[in-house]
Amino acid sequence: MRKNSTEKVIELENISISFGGIHAVDDASVDLHKGEVVALLGHNGAGKSTLVKILSGAYKRDAGDIRVRGELANISNPRDAKAYGIETIYQTLALADNVDTAANLFLGRELRTAWGTLDDVAMEAAAREVMGRLNPRFQRFKEPVKALSGGQRQSVAIARAIQFNAQILIMDEPTAALGPEETAQVGELIKQLKYEGISIFLVSHDIEDVFDLADRVAVMKNGQMVGSADVGSVTKDEVLGMIILGKCPPAAQKGPGAVNQ
């Protein structure tokens, strides 16, 4: 299933971070190949969001290395990550509530006129185009995103991530607030992006979706990596066992978080 298993675009090696006394992520390693979708699974509070936020520069790790395309990467803030072509859809969406859709899509990377002023019209045009792809019914371009519905906001967050030709995409529960139709649309989008050679970390709780979209699953428990496996080589029940009990099936690659049987 994997298109090009030779090139690893992301390697997270022995990442650890703790908040106060809590080891949110503890010695976790996972990698991502070009054009691959890796689903990150785990119970609530397992450390999935924290791990991907380290990759996107939102948190500074206490220990561990990040390699991008094989080279040691220096990611200590969101700007660094973006410079490596890493775009993130945060679980909390991280939208600027008081500005409109176009302003959110281009936040930090505004289009400007020849005079250096904001080119709002051009940004609105681009916003209409990309939103048309995701959510054709969406029309409220003039309103601050605070006034949008949860699903519309999620669409804006997704649009922002795919707007800038990302090489690596992190999607932290991107469809949590979406209706069935929009969820299907995001599923199609993920397949399309994968086809274009974009590598994706997908954090999700929906096993069905994961088996439909992902090439590989990586399961976390209490901040540690239970293991990872190709979706073709494990069953849904086995994956559930990894999530709930930390039991690593024989076909999976075992991590430090797996229980000893």
């Binding site: 939102a58 969101p78 969406l93 939208l95 500005v99 930090g108 990377r109 904001l118 019209v121």
Partner: protein
């Protein structure tokens, strides 16, 4: 509205009439809604203008026609200038959920330094009344304001001390520093050119140039609207109907030209006309000569500051980041915005504006005193808040804050005109502030 209960009762016998009259009302409401949508007028701003006009008319009647005179309105405009200038910066500060309690003291300190520079230092180096003195003093004031703002901003953004505390400290520190510069001595008189920035008969641009400025402003409005139309055409976006555009342009131009007409109908006082006649060896009676003040220079400065700050807030990346941070600072950071640096820049801007405001107020007084700008921070914050800046961040306009400054100053000068003593003035101002924010809250909740 016309739908009183009587009509409803009467409607029991004649349902058709009620239905029809409701139909008319509904039609009227729809038309109003359509009007506001087409012109994209900010209804909140309109409400504030309405409140201001109400205040003016009320004072006019209570004072037996002494409020709405060219003289009073002209003075009102000059008195508002300094607070209005600082209010434009306070909008950015409050939009990012910060506060600046130090602006009055910073104004006082910067003003004192500017006065010392032009009265005691520069005349030693250059000669007295050297034409460059005012520029150097002004530059020193703005630069010093910027440095103080940078210091505040650095401590707030990079050292993580809350703005409330840093600027509360600043309030004490800079007031004390202002005293220290001259051990409390008042510095006066100031450079004659510098004084023009404070208004007065000489510190106004006269009738001819006032019309020129008014004409240019109208032209600018026209160009802006045409440009916005062209931009939207570029991407085939829906355009505003032409009648709506014409309505906007003509209303704004009428207001601008009306203001110029008022400024131009306030003549120089007799004493100054006499001196003018003597100095120019004219052969006319002082009563025959009508020389208009025209727009006061401090007002012109304030309007220019307002235009520049609106441009900064609406059309630059910095302005965009300010509003984005106000809504959700963490999201702005995650979007890759350097929020610490943006915060520092906001306080630098605020400091520079204190320098400009200090220039206006010292020039008007022809002196720098130890108490200059005392309590200005409260007026400035009140102006911004009355003008619709939300203390929870993310919302606020420059124009609104300047209008808020005019409302505050109108209240004070109206009460002064009526001979209300100052404790009562403060009581009224305080009540109005709370009332304005309460009404604004109701308005916003209804808007959703």
């Amino acid at each position: 509205m016309a739908d009183n209960p009587k009509e409803e009762v009467a409607g029991n016998s004649d349902g058709g009439l009620v239905a029809r009259s409701f139909g008319v009302i509904e039609h009227g409401l729809q038309a109003t809604a359509r009007f506001f949508r087409a012109t994209e007028i900010d209804t909140r701003m309109l409400g504030m203008l309405g409140a201001l006009i109400l205040i003016w008319v009320a004072f006019h009647f209570v004072s037996d026609g002494r409020f709405l005179t060219p003289r009073n309105l002209w003075n009102l405009s000059v008195q508002t200038a300094s607070v209005a200038v600082m209010a434009t910066g306070m909008v950015l500060v409050i939009v990012t959920r910060n506060i600046d309690l130090s602006v009055g003291s910073v104004l006082g300190f910067v003003a004192m330094i500017m006065a010392v520079v032009q009265v005691e230092w520069l005349p030693e180096l250059l000669n007295r009344n050297h034409p460059a003195i005012w520029v150097i003093a002004l530059t020193v004031g703005i630069a010093l304001g910027a440095m103080i703002g940078a210091l505040h901003g650095f401590i707030i953004a990079y050292m993580g001390v809350p703005a409330f505390i840093v600027t509360l400290g600043g309030l004490l520190v800079w007031r004390g520093a202002a005293w220290w510069v001259t051990s409390g001595r008042t510095v006066s008189p100031l450079d004659s050119t510098f004084r023009l920035m404070g208004g007065g008969p000489n510190g106004a641009i006269g009738a001819f140039w006032s019309w020129v400025v008014g004409g240019l402003a109208c032209l600018l409005v026209l160009l802006l609207i045409l440009n916005a139309r062209r931009q939207r055409k570029r991407f085939n976006f829906p355009l505003r109907p032409v009648w709506a555009e014409l309505f906007l342009v003509s209303t704004v131009c009428a207001t601008v030209l009306g203001a110029v007409a008022v400024a131009n109908s306030y003549p120089w006082p007799a004493g100054i006309v006499k001196r003018y006649i003597k100095n120019n060896n004219l052969n006319v009676e002082p009563s025959e000569l009508f020389i208009a003040h025209g727009i006061a220079i401090p007002v012109l400065i304030a309007v220019c500051v307002g235009i520049v700050m609106t441009f900064v807030a609406k059309r630059t990346r910095f302005g965009r980041y300010v509003y984005a941070m106000g809504g959700n600072p963490e999201a702005a950071e995650l979007a890759g915005i350097n929020t610490k640096w943006v915060t520092t820049k906001i306080f630098i801007t605020m400091g520079m504006l204190c320098g400009i405001a200090g220039t206006i107020s010292t020039a008007r007084l022809n002196a720098a005193t130890n108490a200059q700008g005392t309590l200005d921070e409260l007026l400035v914050i009140a102006a911004a808040v009355i003008g619709g800046t939300s203390l929870s961040g993310g919302v606020g306009t420059i124009a609104g804050a300047m209008l808020g400054a005019v409302v505050m100053q109108s209240l004070f000068s109206g009460m002064l005109l009526l001979g209300v003593d100052s404790p009562l003035q403060n009581i009224v101002a305080g009540v109005v502030l709370v009332l304005a924010v309460w009404l604004d809250g109701i308005y916003r909740r209804r808007q959703g």
